[in-house]
């Protein structure tokens, strides 16, 4: 599909204008615009502007609250519970990670649960905020049904990412942000939108047959990584981010693109800790040594460098930072119609 180039600053201004038109405060509109543009810059367009129209549609249908009264309940100096009042996910997650960071700075650990939130983009984006403050972090969120539990014929778990971040002693953070599905649902959606195909072995159609057609895959089932192991990890994430937090779970998180019968009520869990809790100032030396040792291993033919999680994302980000952003004509049309 044909793409057009747009200047980053211009794009940011437009997104802010759109969200403000949809009744978000200036502050909240900025949080959303930055998260969406970051997704484009790190090479995850499935979590970027391709979702902008969806967010606005859900605001119009009163399924996302543009003026949420977000309540932060302080349970202890380390623990807090946030009721996001159906805010857009970006805003709830931004407050939650900042609370978890602040608690961890004070007590060594911060645990923050969120309920009544929505899709917040990339888990890694929030993990990065903690790592930039020199903290270690785990982030869990659930998502609409996409993956069938082991033994089941129907999707129920979301792609339920496991996200972990740590400072590395260098400017490139270690950010693992891995879906429990063989393929990210957003990537299937982008392929469907752009008329592309998806790899073999990652999804089944609604009859249980393997497919490379993204539209058939969206109607069918995505496959979990590693059979019962991946299914168990997805179940763990559903419990940590849904059952524990007060969010929806057990397949009740609505697909934001197709289900307008109610708010998503997604739950998130943020766990932040000081990496020097146990080893003091030697942490920096230890993590550098860990990464250096692994990078020095003999490599498979054709592999130039062993990369740690987050490294290629960071490289794409750096590479894209000074460039104009390429968006499809579809998305340009969305932008123009939303702003009109």
């Amino acid at each position: 599909m044909e793409k057009v180039k747009v200047k980053q600053n211009l794009l940011k201004k437009e997104i802010i204008k759109i969200f403000k038109k949809y009744k978000l405060s200036k502050e909240h509109a900025l949080i959303c615009a930055e998260a969406l543009i970051n997704a484009e810059l790190v090479g995850a367009p499935s979590h970027g502007l391709s979702r902008l129209k969806m967010y606005c549609d859900r605001i119009s249908k009163k399924l996302i609250n543009p003026k949420p009264k977000i309540k932060i309940k302080r349970i202890s100096q380390s623990i807090a519970h946030i009721d996001a009042n159906n805010s857009i996910g970006f805003v709830a997650a931004d407050i939650a990670i900042k609370t978890a960071i602040s608690n961890a700075k004070k007590t060594g650990i911060g645990l923050v649960a969120v309920k009544n939130s929505g899709h917040y983009g990339l888990s890694g984006y929030y993990a990065e905020q903690a790592v930039k403050k020199n903290l270690m972090v785990m982030v869990f969120t659930n998502a609409p049904p996409a993956v069938a539990p082991h033994g089941a014929l129907k999707s129920l778990f979301g792609t339920n990412p496991i996200c972990f971040g740590t400072p590395t002693g260098s400017k490139i953070p270690f950010i693992l942000d891995t879906s429990i599905s063989m393929i990210n649902r957003g990537k299937i959606r982008v392929a469907a939108r752009e008329g592309g195909k998806i790899p073999e072995g990652v999804a089944l159609d609604k009859f249980g047959k393997p497919t490379t057609d993204p539209k058939k895959a969206l109607e069918g089932v995505q496959l979990p990584i590693a059979g019962f192991r991946g299914s168990g990890l997805a179940w763990m994430v559903d419990i940590l981010s849904g059952v524990l937090t007060g969010g929806n779970h057990a397949g009740r998180v609505k697909d934001p693109f197709t289900d307008f019968s109610g708010p998503q009520n997604i739950g998130h869990l943020f766990f932040v800790l000081k990496p020097n809790l146990f080893v003091g100032n030697s942490f920096n030396k230890r993590i550098k040594d860990n990464i250096k040792t692994i990078k020095k291993l003999p490599k498979i033919k054709g592999v130039k460098e062993i990369l740690y999680p987050g490294q290629s994302k960071y490289n794409r980000y750096k590479n894209n930072l000074k460039k104009e952003i390429k968006i499809t004509k579809n998305i340009l049309e969305d932008l123009n119609s939303l702003i009109a």
Copy 2:
């Protein structure tokens, strides 16, 4: 390989006698015996009696300290750091999970890191202790090199399990205890010992060729689940249990069976929390609803019941509880020679 049946009580007494002969206190010998027998009862013989001789050998060679001075450093009401002084892993892990449980009872969360420990058997065994006290739990430990990092030609990560447990509102706990390797190293070792084979696609020999010969697999490389995703998860576990805690990491945990050049210095991390922190007493209803909803899904042909992680292990345990334990003649010989 031919097996013989032994009464549980008798076996337990014999194991205690052996460990006491190897200078462990009565209390520590009991902890070890119970952990080893539990592994047999849940159907994980790779973590059971097949390791007894190895533990004793390491004590003889002064690589495991039978009379450890274990230091518990209290960092806050929630956080503690344990220096296990090269104790046998079972003992260090027992103290650590009990400390984490006690901290979580007091403050909502308990985070306990352990360094200078050794192989402790099954992570799920400790997770179960927390779940029995109606707590949620995550457990991480690293292990000797078995899995090659994504892009590398050499093993470095252990099978590094991710373990998560939660109360279920029923007597059968939800315990996910999943290695990041396609196959558990212990299972390969049992197959090698018993002259069996391992499945295809789980390991490579030392030349990088696929193999089903367990002996060749032990010399070669185990494959991680899901390529770079599994490799990233194994790396996360190495950081959480090794870099963070002060334990060995980056491939420096020694193989307890073959490397007698020093203690293992394994690190563990135990994170325990109250499941009612955010949703109060409704947690029980929520988790029951979660499991019930998932169990009700349409099933793949041939699947009778969708099982949650830990369910089949519990069923095996119940089933084996009143029975004599079957051990191979090799292991019987070990027992007899150790006791002699």
